[in-house]
């Protein structure tokens, strides 16, 4: 195999892994959009918030330490214990469910039947509120997140590829874990939506509110459930991204990368979010590898958006989205 091709293959594989992470975030968007028609701008911040909370709980950080210290003149920062990762994840999940309940109870319950743009604005509000509250609760410094996921180069792949091509591929163990987790997550979500009573109810609510009410489905219950699910997906995404590049506020910006993913995959399709994420991940890495050097690099910043733009023009419903049919 010629060298260029070998390098390209490695880039391709790394692109796939990056794509999985994009897809995870996009998945959260799809869930909420499908069930309630809300485009949740706060999805990225939810991932950040989840990661912050997880780190905080694990390290036994005192929430709102700055505020407490400022008001009471104390100097508490840590409870002085460490919580095992698994327990911390469960606790964080409970926080996310609580958040889902609060968001629905305080905001969306009062915005039933409002214009989509209003709902969208509300999510922007929630995003900034969450970012602020996250900062206040856990502090704004960059934190390291380690829940025990394997990290670093996968030596087995390195060896195998070295023996085969005389060049060892660098594949991060974390990326492999992320891929497996994403696959399991998607599979579970699809089974949930198709085969359980709650899943059926969720699809029913997504389809027609009035009809859902008339068969005995509580809209509030479904919305809390959907926001909790999105919270769960955010937590998973937060863990992956946080482990990879540290828990920092720029994490909320990954939400913006999820946008082109959604345009590719369609806003209403779970498989679409996955495939869209992979295409963007691979596309931007390969593009950078092949074209980047010629144009002075940094194509990764804009490639995804240009690709999404092209899609908007030729296939506005995305790859897997429901066909937009205009009846005449």
């Amino acid at each position: 195999m010629p060298d260029q091709l070998i390098f390209a293959t490695e880039v391709f594989l790394n692109g796939l892994m990056a794509g999985v992470l994009y897809a995870l975030v996009a998945l959260g968007f799809v869930l909420i959009y499908k069930a309630s028609g809300i485009f949740n701008y706060a999805q990225g911040v939810m991932a950040l918030f989840a990661a912050l909370t997880l780190v905080g709980i694990m390290k036994g950080q005192v929430p709102f330490a700055h505020l407490i210290n400022a008001v009471f003149g104390t100097h508490v920062h840590y409870f002085g214990w460490n919580v095992p990762a698994l327990v911390a994840i469960v606790l964080t999940m409970l926080v996310m469910v609580g958040l889902a309940w609060a968001v629905n109870e305080i905001v969306f319950k009062h915005l039933v039947n409002q214009e989509p743009i209003l709902l969208f604005m509300a999510t922007i509000g929630i995003a900034y509120f969450l970012e602020g509250i996250g900062d206040m609760m856990w502090g704004s410094e960059i934190k390291k997140l380690d829940v025990g996921l394997p990290q670093g180069i996968n030596l087995w792949i390195d060896n195998v590829t070295y023996n085969a091509f005389g060049y060892g591929f660098f594949i991060d163990n974390l990326d492999i874990v992320a891929t497996v987790v994403a696959a399991v997550l998607v599979f579970t979500l699809i089974v949930f939506a198709q085969y359980t009573k709650q899943g059926r109810a969720m699809r029913a609510v997504a389809d027609d509110h009035q009809a859902a009410l008339s068969v005995g489905i509580s809209l509030n219950f479904i919305w809390v459930m959907v926001w909790s699910l999105a919270g769960f997906v955010a937590l998973v995404a937060g863990i992956m991204w946080g482990t990879k590049s540290g828990v920092q506020f720029s994490l909320s910006l990954i939400a913006l990368k999820a946008l082109p993913v959604l345009m590719l995959g369609g806003f209403t399709s779970i498989p679409g979010a996955i495939v869209g994420g992979l295409i963007i991940g691979v596309g931007e890495k390969l593009f950078e590898f092949a074209i980047g050097p010629m144009v002075g690099g940094a194509t990764e910043n804009w490639f995804a958006y240009v690709l999404a733009l092209v899609f908007l023009v030729f296939r506005p419903q995305g790859l897997f989205g429901e066909k937009i049919i205009e009846r005449v």
Binding site: Q198, R203, A211, A212, L213, S214, G216
Partner: protein
């Protein structure tokens, strides 16, 4: 066809029992407009009860009051002997009052089978965890629910569209699927909001037959709204007549037909 069936049913006589729902002095206002003006009537177990009246008489408002979509400002609702507090529509549905809509409210993106299965929500007891494990009880429950849904599919003769997304169906069939979904709940009371609206003669006859058969086979109590007098008189055991939000008649079809107020209301208003 409907006439033949009707003759048989009348000859046999329906089995009508106690009062299951009682509306007492209901008053409903929207801002300054009073849609329902102090109306009382009752519904007996096993009967077909019609609410008729010209357009704008307040029939649909009454149905929405029963199904919890509207809440009356005054008056009481007695359901199975107990006074019913103000409830959300989904709570009313869970209590066993199922309904259809004049403009059809189905889950367009879901298949006919899935649509009807949602009607079984009331009968689905097992929690998410049990379902996740997908064993024993949850599985048996799913099979039981599927079986009773299949019986309804057979009953309403919609086997051929079982796996078809509802959005692709013609109007008449959608109406039938909506009826199927309401039936799947095994309701104590079935509310039908203009089940024959927008149908041609043949479809109307089919629907009439289904309504009668449902009442006959399952003993379902049915409350229906129609403005097509002919259909109503053929189908129902008792009729409430409304006009401008007031009740102007209540009784068997024959009694109502002889009621002077009713005759005036219907002669004064053009109806189709």
């Amino acid at each position: 066809m409907a006439n033949g069936v009707r003759a048989q049913a009348a000859a046999g006589g329906g089995i009508v029992g106690d009062v299951v729902l009682e509306m007492e002095n209901i008053i409903l206002r929207f801002g300054g407009v009073t849609a329902i003006k102090d109306i009382s009537f009752d519904i007996r177990r096993g009967e077909i009860r019609a609410i008729i009246g010209p357009n704008g008489a307040g029939k649909s408002s009454m149905l929405n009051v029963i199904s919890g979509f509207y809440h009356p400002q005054e008056g009481q609702i007695w359901y199975k002997g107990r006074e019913r507090p103000a409830m959300k529509p989904y709570e009313v549905a869970l209590q066993g009052i199922a309904r259809t809509f004049q403009n059809i409210a189905l889950f367009e993106g879901m298949t006919v089978l899935d649509n009807i299965m949602t009607g079984r929500i009331r009968q689905m007891k097992s929690g998410l965890l049990a379902q996740a494990l997908w064993k024993g009880k949850a599985e048996r429950e799913e099979t039981e629910n599927r079986e009773s849904v299949e019986r309804i599919i057979d009953f309403l003769e919609i086997q051929h569209i079982r796996k078809t997304p509802v959005g692709r169906l013609p109007y008449g069939l959608k109406k039938r699927v909506e009826l199927a979904r309401a039936l799947a709940a095994e309701p104590s009371i079935l509310l039908l909001d203009e089940p024959m609206a927008g149908m041609n003669v043949e479809e109307k006859e089919d629907m009439s037959r289904f309504v009668l058969d449902v009442n006959d086979e399952f003993g379902t109590t049915i409350v229906l709204i129609e403005h097509d007098m002919g259909v109503v008189m053929d189908l129902s055991d008792r009729v409430v007549v409304m006009d401008y939000g007031r009740k102007i008649g209540d009784g068997t079809p024959d009694e109502v037909r002889r009621n002077q107020d009713v005759i005036d209301a219907y002669l004064g208003v053009s109806h189709d």
